[in-house]
């Protein structure tokens, strides 16, 4: 049984925009899956529907056999702890320190009092420091998050997501706000830590090269529908042309 199983997922926004038209997708344990699509194809929506930052209209999402769409608010908060999310714009809390940002990954499990007084348990602290070292930001933990460069900020984002001890990482265009070299570094790092911690990863990109280079499997998304889903080695250029080629034609016409 796959770790994450998405079935017939549909979502339209209040504006009438139909973002997902019934998508099926599955991710096995420790698998790295890329969602490839143009901007506006529904990648962010799909990822956000998994942890219900966006509420899907219909369909099913199961993680480790647990039906996410059926959970109430409290159960959902528990379930979210096993899904780490990494964002295109990093989404750090600028005025908190780097370490506080990393520690905020455990907010789901610490008590309200500890959250209020920012007195995180020692074992969380040790783990946070270990992760900071792993992603290479140990020297900056006292700095405010907005004092870091983009690449460093995304490293903080990675550490924060791993702080949750997730089963899967949901990653939304992690390198689109970075320049290509830094983006590649971040991508490498993310892959390494995913392997080390045996975490599966579902990441979205609009760049074919990133998808083919870093994934086990590629899922092509277009206009809210899945148009292919193949192992990365066997993905044919035609499949990719389907996404980008059609766009060229549309742009010309």
């Amino acid at each position: 049984m796959p770790l994450l199983e998405i079935r017939a997922l549909k979502k339209s926004y209040a504006t009438g925009e139909v973002a997902l038209k019934g998508v099926d997708l599955s991710v096995s344990a420790q698998e790295i899956v890329a969602i490839l699509g143009l901007s506006g194809s529904g990648k962010s929506t799909l990822l956000r529907c998994v942890n219900r930052l966006v509420e899907p209209d219909s369909g099913s999402v199961t993680l480790d056999g647990l039906e996410i769409t059926a959970l109430n608010k409290r159960q959902l908060r528990r379930a979210r702890q096993s899904m780490g999310m990494i964002f295109q714009e990093f989404n750090l809390v600028d005025r908190l320190t780097v370490l506080e940002n990393v520690l905020s990954g455990t907010l789901g499990s610490v008590s309200l009092w500890r959250a209020f007084s920012r007195a995180f348990p020692r074992e969380n602290l040790d783990r946070a420091l270990g992760l900071c070292e792993r992603v290479g930001i140990l020297d900056h933990i006292k700095k405010r998050a907005d004092q870091l460069s983009g690449g460093q900020r995304q490293r903080v984002g990675i550490a924060r997501a791993l702080m949750q001890n997730p089963k899967i990482l949901l990653v939304d265009e992690p390198t689109s706000s970075l320049d290509p070299k830094i983006g590649a570094e971040v991508m490498e790092l993310m892959l390494e830590v995913a392997h080390e911690t045996h975490v599966a990863m579902l990441f979205s990109v609009h760049d074919v090269r990133l998808a083919t280079e870093y994934s086990n499997r590629i899922v092509g998304l277009q206009g809210g529908s899945k148009i292919f889903d193949e192992r990365t080695e066997t993905v044919k250029p035609e499949a990719i042309d389907l996404i980008y080629g059609m766009n060229k034609r549309a742009a010309r016409g």
Binding site: L99, A119, L125, D126, L129, G130, E133, L138, I141, K142
Partner: protein
């Protein structure tokens, strides 16, 4: 766990302990300060405990509902008009006095930095720090009861309020056009009128309107010390324990203030 981590961890834990201690000490000091304040202010603790009931009772039983019949009677309406009139005239005269003062009090424009600048600054700062109600009471002592004293208090308020803002705006202007006019050999007043004032007009208009709004607020209470306007009625209602009438006046004042704020907002939007 590497050496790097151990050092960082120690440093962090140390900082955290210090931080907690500082927070704790600050909280403790605040409490001590609180007890000391209660002592200095002679606040009766028993009254603090019973105060919710008494204030609640005051509001729900004695103030509410407002006596709107009284609040719309001829004498109240007349007082409202008088209040508006005071605020308009006080703002107008105050603005006329403020115009040269703000010019003198702007460091980049002032015609004389040795005498006029510090004098203008002093007048503005003192007017700003002088509470209108105190000014009004002093002016009543000099000129007798009535809206004239109140109007003068509003003139003082305008000098303090608009003077500071106008001078601040003046210090941000672009000196290019000013120098251009100066180069034609124009005198200081002409430089002000042709080089400086046109640049400041929009922001100063905004300040004038904003000031009027603020003066209207303070004019509603000047009647307390006999300086004209609606405040006199409020004081009189309270002194005869007619709280529903008093609440009626309060409602009228709120309506007046909200309306003036909306109007000032609207006018400023148009000018900016």
């Amino acid at each position: 766990m590497g050496d790097g981590i151990t050092a960082v961890r120690q440093a962090y834990l140390h900082d955290r302990r210090v931080g907690r201690f500082v927070k704790f000490a600050a909280l403790l000091s605040l409490f001590a300060f609180g007890f000391w304040s209660i002592d200095v202010l002679q606040i009766p603790i028993d009254r603090v405990l019973g105060m919710f009931g008494r204030v609640g009772n005051m509001v729900w039983q004695r103030l509410l509902p407002p006596d709107l019949v009284y609040a719309t009677s001829a004498s109240v309406i007349y007082a409202v008009l008088e209040t508006i009139e005071m605020s308009l005239l006080g703002s107008f005269i105050g603005t006329l006095i403020t115009l040269p003062l703000a010019w003198f009090a702007a460091w980049n424009l002032t015609p004389d930095r040795v005498f006029l600048y510090p004098m203008a600054r002093l007048i503005i700062v003192v007017s700003r720090s002088l509470p209108s109600l105190m000014a009004a009471m002093l002016l009543v002592a000099v000129f007798g009861f009535g809206p004239f004293a109140g109007m003068l208090a509003l003139v003082v308020g305008t000098i303090g309020f608009a003077g500071k803002l106008m001078a601040e705006q003046a210090e941000t202007i672009n000196m290019g056009p000013v120098d251009a006019v100066r180069a034609t050999g124009a005198g200081k007043l002409k430089v002000f009128i042709y080089g400086i004032f046109p640049q400041l007009k929009p922001s100063w208009y905004g300040i004038v309107i904003y000031n009027w709004d603020a003066r209207l607020r303070s004019s509603t209470i000047l009647g307390f010390v006999g300086a004209g306007g609606i405040g006199l009625h409020l004081r009189e209602r309270i002194s005869v324990l007619e709280y529903h009438g008093a609440m009626g006046i309060i409602v009228i004042i709120i309506v007046l203030v909200v309306a003036s704020e909306a109007m000032s907002h609207f006018l400023r939007k148009r000018y900016y």
